[in-house]
C-alpha cells in the first residue's frame, strides 16, 4: 500500500552572508537551537552579492519563501554592502507586491555572528509565515517541478 504524504513542507531559501549571518546560523547549530530543516541556507560573500534575479530564480525553482540575512547595517565586512542591498530589496519586494505576489514570501533580516538565538527565532517565524501562506503558485516555473 502506498501512503501519500500530503502535509505541506515549505521550501525556504535563506541567503546568508559569509561574515555574520552564516556564522550566526553556525552558532544556532552549535548551541543546539532548533530551526526547521525546511530552511536551505545558501552562503554568499555579502548580502549585496544577492542579485534580485537570485531571489526570482529561487522562486522559479520551487521555493515558497526567500529570506536574505546579512550583517547589521554598519557592520558589513565590506563596510557598505548591506546598505545597497537594503535599497535593492526594498524596491524588489515592493515590485513583487505590485505584481500581486503575497507580501510575506520575502524578508530581510540582519543577523550578527553572535545572534544564534535571533537566527533561530527568525527562521521559525518565517517558516510559520510561509505555512500560513501555503504553496507559492504565483511565482514559479512549472517545468522545474519534481
Amino acid at each position: 500500500m502506498q501512503v501519500e504524504n500530503t502535509e505541506f513542507r515549505p521550501k525556504i531559501v535563506a541567503f546568508c552572508c559569509n561574515w555574520c549571518s552564516y556564522a550566526g546560523a553556525d552558532l544556532a547549530g552549535s548551541s543546539r537551537l532548533a530551526y526547521p530543516a525546511d530552511v536551505k541556507i545558501i552562503r554568499v560573500p555579502c548580502s549585496c552579492r544577492v542579485n534580485p534575479m537570485f531571489i526570482l530564480r529561487a522562486f522559479q525553482r520551487g521555493a515558497d519563501g526567500v529570506i536574505l540575512c546579512g550583517c547589521h547595517p554598519g557592520d558589513c565586512h565590506y563596510t557598505t554592502g548591506n546598505y545597497y542591498a537594503r535599497r535593492r530589496m526594498t524596491l524588489l519586494f515592493s515590485m513583487l507586491d505590485y505584481l500581486g505576489v503575497e507580501k510575506g514570501r520575502t524578508r530581510v533580516e540582519w543577523v550578527s555572528a553572535a545572534e544564534g538565538v535571533k537566527f533561530s527565532t527568525t527562521m521559525n517565524e518565517f517558516v510559520a509565515k510561509i505555512h500560513e501562506l501555503g504553496k507559492n503558485v504565483r511565482l514559479e516555473d512549472l517545468r522545474c517541478k519534481n
Binding site: 530589496m89 526594498t90 505590485y98 505584481l99 517545468r143
Partner: protein, 328 residues
C-alpha cells in the same frame, strides 16, 4: 524642417561634424526611421514631423566609436536619455554635437487608426488639434486623443543638454501635450486593487509578450553589450520555453535593471507590438524611489549619484513593504 536640413548641411560642410543622425522618410508616412546621413545630398530624405518619436540617444553609443563628431537631433525628453548615458560613461559629450529640436508631442499611429483614419501620410500639430494629411484627403483629430501616452505626461519642453536650439525656445512652456495628468495615477490605481486582481491584471498583460525584445533593444538605459536575456543558460531567453513565470522573470528583471536609470522616456511602451504598458512597471520603481529616497529624475544632470548606487544610514528597511497596507 528646412531649417534643420540647412543647418546640418552647414555643419557638414565646415567640418564641425562628420555625420548627421536624424530621421528619414520611411516606406509609410507615419513611420519615419532613425538614420545616418554622411553627405549633404543624402539629407534630402531627412524628415522631422510629429511621427518622429524615436529617441536617437542610444545610437550615439555606436556613433561615438566612429571617427569624428556626430550631429544629432534631440527632442527635449531625449536629452534626458543622453545625459544619463553620459553619466554612465556610455557616450561622450565632446564627440557629439546636439541640436535641440522643438517638440509639441509625438503621435501614436495606432490611436489615429483607431479613430477610423486610414492612409496617413503626414501630420501637423496645431494647438490642441492635429491636421492629418491622408490618402483620402485631409482629416482632423483632437491632439489629446492621438498623442502617445508618454506625451500626455510630458516632462516639459526644456532641453537639459544641447549645443544649439532650433524651433524651440529655452524655458518654453509645455504644449497641448501637457494635460496636467499625474503620471503616477495609473500606478496608484493598480496599487489600490486587491493583490489577486493585481496579479490577474499583470498575468493578462504579460502573457501577451512575444519576447521580441524590442523594449530592451530600444531602451537607452539598456545598453549592455552582452545581455543576460541572450544567454543560452538563461531559461527565459526564448518564447519556446513559455510558461507564466518566464514573463514575470523577464519583465521584473528588465524593469529592475533600469530602476533609477530609467528617464521615463516611454520608448519601451511605444515600440511594444503587444501594447503592454511597460511604463507602469518603470513608473512603479520611479514612484517608490521618490517616496523612499527623495524625488529623482534620471538624466536631469550628469553628476549626481543614482538612487541605487547611493544610500543613507537612515534608509527604510525592506520590511516596510510587508507592514504597509494595500499595494503601496
Amino acid at each position: 524642417m528646412q531649417e534643420l536640413i540647412t543647418r546640418a548641411k552647414e555643419l557638414l560642410a565646415d567640418g564641425t561634424v562628420s555625420r548627421v543622425l536624424g530621421w528619414k522618410k520611411g516606406d509609410l508616412g507615419w513611420d519615419p526611421e532613425p538614420a545616418y546621413f554622411d553627405k549633404a545630398e543624402e539629407l534630402e530624405n531627412f524628415i522631422y514631423n510629429p511621427f518622429c518619436g524615436a529617441n536617437l540617444s542610444k545610437y550615439l553609443i555606436a556613433a561615438g566609436k566612429l571617427e569624428g563628431t556626430t550631429l544629432v537631433f534631440l527632442k527635449p525628453c531625449d536629452t534626458y536619455s543622453f545625459n544619463q548615458l553620459v553619466k554612465e560613461h556610455r557616450v561622450k559629450k565632446d564627440k557629439t554635437y546636439i541640436i535641440g529640436v522643438g517638440c509639441h508631442g509625438t503621435l501614436d499611429p495606432e490611436k489615429i487608426r483607431n479613430t477610423g483614419v486610414k492612409g496617413i501620410a503626414d501630420a501637423v500639430l496645431e494647438g490642441d488639434r492635429v491636421r492629418l494629411n491622408t490618402l483620402y484627403g485631409d482629416k482632423e483629430a483632437a491632439a489629446a486623443e492621438v498623442l502617445l501616452d508618454r506625451c500626455l505626461v510630458c516632462k516639459g519642453k526644456t532641453h537639459v543638454v544641447c549645443d544649439e536650439l532650433i524651433g524651440a525656445e529655452p524655458g518654453e512652456e509645455a504644449g497641448p501635450g501637457e494635460l496636467a495628468v499625474n503620471r503616477f495615477a495609473q500606478v496608484e490605481e493598480l496599487e489600490n486593487l486587491p493583490p489577486e486582481e493585481r496579479f490577474a491584471f499583470w498575468q493578462e498583460q504579460l502573457s501577451r509578450c512575444i519576447r521580441c525584445n524590442a523594449c530592451r533593444n530600444v531602451c537607452p538605459a539598456c545598453s549592455c553589450l552582452k545581455c543576460v536575456f541572450d544567454s543560452s543558460q538563461f531559461d527565459s531567453n526564448q518564447k519556446a520555453n513559455a510558461d507564466t513565470f518566464e514573463e514575470q522573470m523577464f519583465h521584473i528583471i528588465r524593469a529592475f535593471h533600469v530602476a533609477g536609470r530609467c528617464t521615463d522616456c516611454g520608448e519601451c511602451s511605444r515600440v511594444c507590438p503587444e501594447s503592454i504598458p511597460l511604463h507602469l512597471l518603470n513608473r512603479k520603481f520611479i514612484k517608490d524611489i521618490d517616496t523612499f529616497y527623495g524625488e529623482y529624475q534620471a538624466g536631469a544632470d550628469t553628476e549626481s549619484k543614482g538612487p541605487l548606487t547611493d544610500f543613507t544610514f537612515e534608509d527604510v528597511e525592506p520590511g516596510i513593504i510587508a507592514e504597509r497596507g494595500g499595494g503601496r
